[in-house]
Symmetry: C2
Subunit: 79 residues, 2 copies
């Protein structure tokens, strides 16, 4: 199974990296782009697990290692 984990800063947390990208895009003439948020993306290979086990493992790894739940939120897709 493969799990995809998407980690983003919570909406209430300022994202200077995303802000800088948005500024850069505007200065390049991409005025159609408004707010930009940058996050992290992980692809995990999960060996010989059922879908439920894979989801539980991905959730635990995301919560304990990949994301900081104090300031970040995460989303998981398993397939």
């Amino acid at each position: 199974m493969k799990a995809k984990v998407f980690v983003t800063l919570k909406p209430s947390v300022f994202d200077p990296q995303g802000h800088t990208i948005a500024d850069a895009l505007h200065s390049m003439g991409y005025t159609g782009v408004g707010d930009v948020r940058q996050g992290k993306y992980f692809e995990l290979e999960l060996n010989s697990l059922s879908a439920d086990q894979a989801r539980a493992l991905a959730l635990e790894v995301a919560d304990k290692v990949l994301a900081n739940p104090v300031i970040e939120s995460y989303r998981i897709e398993v397939d």
Copy 2:
């Protein structure tokens, strides 16, 4: 409209960051996790554009700014 851009290193490119995460997970006892790849994730707010225009803009921005097509591949979702 909102565009999500997922950028990952191409499969043929070595990903030391993902490798380090995998090693850390193994040392923490998460032996069910095999290979890990880390990438970047962007959320772009696209102002007053049709779905087709938004997709075209997101593609251009991803190709020219957010990803390095020499070593990275990207995927876009617009909704």
